[in-house]
Symmetry: C2
Subunit: 213 residues, 2 copies
């Protein structure tokens, strides 16, 4: 499939849930590690939708790191993340750099629409940033993540530099803004927006109609 | 008990959970209607701790209504509140005035430390604001709430005008800020802070030691 085949993103219909995320978002990590299993148990497929939170925040006039703009809330957020990761049994390290740049990993996803390894790759990149404190902005780390999920890094990394792929990621971010997305993670199920790791179960229930809404 | 007996607030110890709230806070409503039953089932007592969110936000340099400062997030928040209320089986009406002034109701709580009707009164005031769209800043509405929970409104309303009671509410708000509280609802259990209706279960688990933390 060519990079030019990446631009159209259908809204998640029945039996699908769209997962909008940025690798730099810590609550996206908590949801990303759990969504495929939870969705699969409910008979749903996941559409992985990377976006760039920077332009999303900028479009609303919000400072780049809203969770950490207030000292008290920032301190609390790091404690909350550690507690939530422990609750879910996920590896957790407060990264030595924050935020890290997920754009290369996001372009790789955009460059390979529908590839069977996308979910595994997303989890591997998230795990390296938030569980192993690795710099996911570094090409060698992303190459390692690709190898880990059985993908030859050379062609995948080359495709990420394609102008059509770069444009498609910008367009997908614009689509997020058009959908009313204001933070990450966000889930879209049957036309409804759900924001935050804390709404993962509600989003899945809505996607299946179990919430009778 | 005299109003001057209201100032000291012990940190919630074992078998207790402190619930910090403002009647103007919609997510406080969702938690307030559920906390006593959930806590009781876990063998815990609830300490109701009203505070004034205005001074809390001001102390951090945050605008008065952070949930609604961004249009996209504000629109989403109203939808989320309606969905969460439906999930919990709680009455919900988007109030025709927002935020409403909860200071009179908060002073009544401060003026009657340890009274057996405080939990019922809190739920009744929340229900009137968020379930019935009544103006809880109006003395006649609060008088109705007091009668509903079996309290003679005259003396209770009079006590709320006592300078010592007014001071004690300001002091309790200062204590919230000193505890690192930055929003509502907040729960304090065994010295740990938990923020938001979404953390009610975690706070109760921590209070009982069930999270083994």
């Amino acid at each position: 499939m060519t990079p030019s085949g990446t631009a159209p993103v259908a809204p998640a219909g029945n039996n699908r849930i769209a997962f909008w995320f940025d690798f730099a978002s810590p609550y996206s990590y908590l949801a990303a590690m759990r969504i495929e299993q939870a969705a699969s148990a409910a008979g749903l497929a996941v559409d992985w939708r990377p976006m760039l939170l920077g332009p999303v925040f900028k479009s609303m006039g919000v400072p780049p790191l809203p969770l950490f703009a207030i000292a008290q809330k920032g301190d609390y957020t790091w404690k909350d993340l550690a507690r939530q990761a422990a609750k879910y049994g996920l590896a957790w390290t407060r990264p030595s750099q924050f935020p890290r740049n997920g754009i290369l990993a996001e372009r790789i996803i955009i460059g390979h629409p529908g590839a069977g390894w996308i979910g595994d790759f997303c989890r591997e990149v998230f795990r390296r940033n938030w569980g192993l404190d690795q710099d996911i902005g570094d090409e060698t780390i992303i190459a390692g993540a690709l190898r880990e999920v059985g993908v030859d890094p050379g062609p995948a990394l080359a495709r990420a530099t394609d102008d059509a792929v770069k444009l498609a990621l910008r367009q997908q971010t614009e689509q997020a803004i058009a959908l009313g997305i204001f933070g990450a993670p966000s889930m879209v199920a049957r036309g409804e927006l759900f924001w935050g790791n804390d709404r993962l179960d509600d989003a899945i229930a809505h996607a299946t109609g179990r919430d009778s809404a």
